[in-house]
Amino acid sequence: MDIGLLTIIIFDGLNYAAVLFLIAVGLTFVYGVLRILNISHGAIYGLGAYMATWLTILLLNKGLPPYLSYFVLLTGAIIIGLITGPSIERLCLRRIYGSDIHIQLLLTFSILLILDDAMKLIWGVEPMFMSEPYFLLGQFSVGGIIYPRYTFLLIGVSASFGVFLVWLVRGTRFGKLVVSVIQDREISVAMGINVGLIYTAAFTMGALSAAIGGAFIAPTISVAPGFAAEVVVMSFAVVAIGGLGNLEGAALGSLIVGLARALAIHLVAELELAVIYLIMVLVLAFRPQGLFGAVEERRI
């Protein structure tokens, strides 16, 4: 394989990995702290994309300088993250901590369906398009292949959010509190930690990651109800490969899936879809907890 093709594969892989990581990292973070597999994550991703698109179109039509559209994307995502995160955690999830996993899955799946319909009610069923932020930054060439510079922005946003989360968990007092709550909730309560607040904050971080993912993907796609399904399913494959609840696992899982897909497209196009699930099956067969997942002790 020549260097040019290898560079292209790496770049395509990184591009897709960035998209997947933005979604998977929130999913895995929420599971790590709350021990809840949040199926509604995909709907928050969709809401982020809708809000960002709608807000950007609105403000661009009102004469907003196009370069400010990136801040508008971020603002749209933050609005969605701050609304959905606390409200879902406080109103719904709080009632089912410690419940059977089936209840958790059913509840978060119900939230997904409700939010999906809410999107249709608010923005209708016809797709929305907005591409100014995508085209604005121009292009560059790798191995003779042209890429939009927006790809860098996507990778940058994704990596920054990952680094931010790692810093938040490992380098701040909040992170120490989160870790203590993960280790032992009852002792944490006894030590005076506001566990409820930690849960709300952690879930909101997860919601923010999904919304930011949606908002920054939006300029590259047509935003329509149900558009999130494909990439969200893929992000579940990512966390299964990396290990649920592990930030490094999400990063590695995203890279593996992104690169494997790019490799397949360029070398054996027929295997584009199969290769990702093949990797997942292999990982789960030999390491059911995922590459970075810790083996859980049997309680009894």
């Binding site: 395509d12 797709p127 292949i145 329509a224 149900g226 494909e230 497209i265 360029h266 196009a269």
Partner: protein, 429 residues
């Protein structure tokens, strides 16, 4: 003086006056004997999800026509009642909904289905439930080539027409074509479209090299690696049967990367999204309204009253110009109405489903853009197909399909009894 019996004369006079009065009072469209209070027609198409830009177009056209016809007296005095349903979901879900429509909602006719996977799943159930079912958009040739259909009809050309039409057109634009590449979705529609396009090109221009064949999930939404591969392949022509929101995303992602400058890109459903893509659609892209015989500017509305009425009425209702899905919606429900009317004329009463089917076989009916002919043997409609190349229009604010060419149905559709893969091998320039 003989006694004159006035009674017969009186009786005849009363009868004559009565008939005359009856003719004056009763509407012209008096329902034929045995007519139901209404004809219940289900319309099933994507109303949510990335394919909604398809479904809503077909729905608007169908609603517009039903409103218009009901104001004019329906079908011989019987009003039509539409039951609208979302096609989004799996084939299994659509089969369940189809059964519910027939058995619980008691619809008389089911019309619709954009997804080939759904159409293939529905046809056997339509046969089992003995329900007249008209497939309006779904393109896989397998529907009418691999199945013996009785209750199911497809009221438009299948994908072979799109692919062969595109092949003939790109060879006109690039007579020295050396290489092709394809990016299509990994299911019946995408696979069949590419096979037919590639087969037609190879037959019409032997020696053409295939540089890349890419397969994505339906409405994948992320095509960066595929676009890189297409750019690296540097093929003269890139073919894609992507559709709906997925196609818009592909165009958006490919545009800044120069794919449209490097290769002649041919999009079999492209004419459907040009109004949505707006100013982002580049010039010089081959667009095909899926081998449909009408485009909102062709035939010219001023020269075709049916076209003028539809384009103006649709634009007033929707705020957009009709696209090929709208025209195919028109073809389907227009065909249904024509078949019922023919069956009524043949029987002198409201027809049974079997009588409508008999009338549908070999029927030719008029729509904006020309005649549609339903082949009796395989229940496959055949009609003209249009193709053209994009040119941005300041007047409309989106790219128009210019340099249009109209191909007769016989040139772009396989004859009865011949399967598409075999037929494309027999094509002649």
């Amino acid at each position: 003086m003989p006694k004159i019996n006035l009674l017969p004369g009186l009786f005849l006079s009363i009868l004559a006056v009565g008939t005359w009065l009856g003719a004056m009072v009763l509407p012209v469209n008096a329902a034929p004997p045995g007519a139901p209070a209404e004809l219940k027609v289900a319309f099933v198409d994507f109303l949510s999800g990335p394919a909604a830009i398809f479904g809503t177009s077909g729905r608007y056209a169908t609603e517009w026509l039903v409103d218009k016809w009901n104001k004019e007296g329906g079908i011989k005095g019987v009003p039509l009642k539409l039951v609208i349903l979302d096609e989004a979901g799996t084939p299994a879900k659509n089969v369940t909904e189809f059964r519910r429509l027939v058995m619980e909602e008691k619809v008389n006719v089911v019309l619709g289905f954009t997804s080939s996977a759904n159409a293939l799943a529905i046809a056997p159930v339509a046969e089992e439930l003995k329900t007249l079912t008209l497939i309006h958009v779904a393109g896989t040739n397998r529907l009418t080539e691999d199945h013996k259909l009785h209750y199911t009809f497809r009221t438009s050309n299948h994908q072979a027409a799109d692919s062969v039409l595109l092949a003939r057109y790109v060879l006109k634009l690039k007579p020295n074509l050396k290489s092709i590449a394809g990016a299509n979705e990994d299911y019946a529609w995408g696979r069949d479209s590419w096979e037919a396009f590639m087969g037609a090109i190879k037959t019409l221009q032997p020696g053409v090299e295939v540089k890349a064949e890419l397969w994505t999930k339906i409405q994948a939404g992320e095509y960066s690696a595929e676009i890189s591969k297409l750019l690296a392949a540097r093929a003269d022509v890139v073919h894609s049967s992507f559709w709906g929101g997925g196609l818009v995303t592909f165009i958006k992602q490919a545009l800044p990367r120069g794919l449209f400058k490097q290769s002649l890109v041919a999009l079999s459903t492209g004419a459907q999204v040009d109004q949505f893509v707006g100013k982002d659609m580049p010039d010089g892209v081959v667009l095909c309204p899926r081998a449909t015989g009408a485009y909102f500017l062709d035939p010219e509305p001023e020269k075709d009253p049916l076209q003028k009425e539809f384009v103006e009425g649709y634009h007033k209702k929707v705020g957009r110009y009709p696209d090929y899905v709208s025209y195919r919606g028109y073809q389907a429900i227009g065909g249904m109405k024509a078949a019922y009317e023919k069956a009524i004329a043949q029987t002198g009463r409201w027809p049974t489903t079997e009588e409508v089917i008999k009338a549908f076989k070999g029927l030719t009916w008029r729509v904006p853009g020309g005649d549609i002919h339903m082949r009796a043997e395989d229940h496959q409609a055949i009609h003209d197909g249009l193709v053209g190349i994009t040119k941005m229009s300041k007047k409309y604010g989106f790219a128009l399909m210019e340099k249009r060419e109209r191909f007769p149905g016989e040139q772009i559709m396989p004859p009865v009894g011949m399967k598409t893969p075999d037929w494309v091998k027999t094509l002649k320039k």
